[in-house]
Amino acid sequence: MMAFLKLLARNRLALAGGIVLSFVVLLALITPLLPLAEPNVTNTAARFQKLFTEGALLGTDHLGRDLLSRLMWGTRLSLAVGFAAAVVAATLGAAIGIVAGFYGGRTDNLIMRGVDMLMAFPYILLALAIVAALGPGLFNALIAVAAVNVPFFARNIRGITVGIAHKEFVDAARLAGLSNTRIILTEILPNVIPVIVIAMSTTIGWMILETAGLSFLGLGSQPPQADLGSMLGEARSALITNPHTSVVPGIMILIIVMSINLLGDGVRDALDPRLKSGALSRPMASTMVRRKDPVPQAEGKGLLEVQELQTQFHVKDRVYRAVGGVSLHVKPGECLGVIGESGSGKSVTALSVMGLVASPPGVITGGAVRYDGEDLIGAPYRKLREMRGRNVAYIFQDPLATLHPLYKVGDQLIEAIRAHRPISKSEGQARAIELLKAVRIPNAEKRITDYPHEMSGGMRQRVGIAMALANDPDIIIADEPTTALDVTVQAQILSLLDDLRRSRGLAIVFITHDFGVVGQLCDRVAVMYAGRIVEEGPTQSVLETPTHPYTARLMACVPELGEGKRRLEAIPGLPPVVDKLPAGCAFADRCDRVQADCRQGEIDLEREGARAVRCIHPVTPLKEAAE
């Protein structure tokens, strides 16, 4: 709750809206206590008094009633009716939406078609019809405004409920013996309340306007009772001669609706889970760079050379050292495996190469990324955009999320090519077919008109690879490209990648958590833990004689096919959180070889031949392993 208020207060406009609104609400609440004139007492002798006359601060109306008093009482009424209408509409709408979304099928169809019919009428006509049927009066106006707004809530909440009703925790509740009513009340409702609040906060201003509109037409509050709409309506005839009688309630409506809307937008933003991370704005086009230390000199080790890269996430006052000094390199035709568990920094390392880490909160704080010797960190966005896809291309884990669902795969491929060179539509078409053939998609000529959802997971990932190949890049960074796929499909994608790098001389950085995959595809492997490389070397050598205790124990955790039923080795504990890294070795707390000196100061990545390890008590001495 405190965090919510803090977020809300960070939005200046919302804060201003909130302050103004609280002031108005406070005034409305204490209106009966204020020394105001009676709002409904007429005094035709003193009609149309100007502003600031004695005894009537805001003047009087056509019947000589005190405008200030009527304004205060009118505001009180308008706010109350608007708020009540919002609560009624939200309650009814949410109830309808939850029932429709939860039960689904025929119930859903029946309810939602009814709601659709309600929405088919222009809202003001519907409201007029309801008031006409019930007779004029403020209470009936309230009913009309609420009824008109029910569909908005019902549709909104139904959509959210459908998503929640299929969550696993609802199944779990069923298995725990909860009845449907109880599931709706204790499992679904608490999860949709934020959405209801958001919807209410953005529509309440609208509802106050609608009530005022009905009163303006004489269908809401009846004389002599004042609300803002009826005050405007009564002042209409004197608009030219005595404008202040309309301006006064008009300004009040403006103030109320503006402040509610500003506050409502603020509430929506503050409740939006995506904004909770502190990122209140859209990410920048490339990752922010704030390097303090001098940039390392080029060493010319490979086509892609990552040197002492440091990427951090700055969230509020915390600093997460996601990548804490990583050096990697890869040559043409070579495949480098980067292995690690979730949170080890492997994906952030990969995304940092082309400045794709979202900023804020991501910041590159040190090191260099060299493509053919040239440092790319801090390069202008134009340059990076030119290189993304053309020189360095990415393949991501979930092709369903990376392909646009509304465009045909062929068009997406052509777009990827055209981002870098101008080609005609027919040329693009031919090239797209060629690419799909290169990734062994059968019937490529037909498949280019498919939408992503019409393809299987394996086919989609092939399209993802085809897209990465579209501009003949030299380097492909593949971030867990086969994790979401079935084993038989994975085997095919891996052999495809292997062929491609051999036939085209591609350099591949392959990020994975699977030793089996690394063992089959990669020439060299780097093992990451808590944002750093802890071991590196030729794949075969590392897998046969791991030197870092983490590598050795991680390999022991992985069951291998063909060994039958057995107890698995486990590593106790969890990886450290990267905003509170311990001094010394990050693995020390989980390591069975730990000694006092492991926790004292930096431990360097020690090199011996092609092998490297960041450990002072390795499982196998580095010298032995390097042989």
Binding site: E341, L494, L561
Partner: protein, 318 residues
Amino acid sequence: MTEALKLTELSKSFPVGGGFLAASRGTVKAVHPISLTVQQGETLGIVGESGCGKSTLARMLVGLLEPTTGTIEIDGAALDNADPAVFGKRIQYVFQDPISSLNPRKTIRQIMEAPLKRLYGMDRSQRDLRISEIFASVNLREEFLERYPHEFSGGQAQRIGIARALAANARILILDEPVSALDVSVQAQVLNLLADLKKEFSLTYLFISHDLAVVEAVSDRIAVLYFGSVVELGPAEEIFRAPRHPYTKLLADSAPVVGRPLTAPESKETELPDPLNPPPGCAFAARCPRASDRCRKEVPRLEGDRVQAACFHPLDGD
């Protein structure tokens, strides 16, 4: 040994298409009639790729889905209507995604109490006692009870999911990909915990996974599912070492193994058959190197003694 779970000709079809007024355009068989028995204290592994019907099968077993045909017997008693509250006391479910299986707006205590309250009507002191017992056996600290699900790592959340399943005091647990959302180092912790719990409470497991090596490491017997049918069933130590069904062999050959050269074990298109228009014979025939005319016309039945395979031309095995 006694039978803990017996499925007889269990199947599930879903209507396809059809809207508010339109009639459905036909049915898709997600699970073809399956007959299986699971012995008391056994772990039966179920492997298969996405779309093979393993989750549909699992959801029928706990009463979340009503079977189209067939019966489910637990400890000799038939459960014929799909009512999760009745099933819940006898058979429980551990979900794949530990975080999304816990309601984000409830404390762990509220989550743990639900089955005790609703299934057993326990009062407060009984519930507290039972929760401490269970938390002790899954190695969770009781201070976790007042926290919310998002405060836990995947491994801890999965332990909570297991604890909730144990709370219902069911003797059979369906483990639906219980470790595939976890990191390898944590995966082993959870698998070992499951093995310990099984011994402690003499549980029976149905372990569903797409990871062959994991299934092999935990199971006594393994059933291989393809396109809604069991194509091979046999002891865990033999099934991948000496597969009899060509599909099992394809699976075993596709699993990445250190030191094995990288070759695509299959050059053809690997899409599953169209469920709306299933092939008349063996569903695997189109991908099978050993397929004959008979395979394309007739559906093979599951046959054999120790290792059963639904194939007209099984591989030799040894």
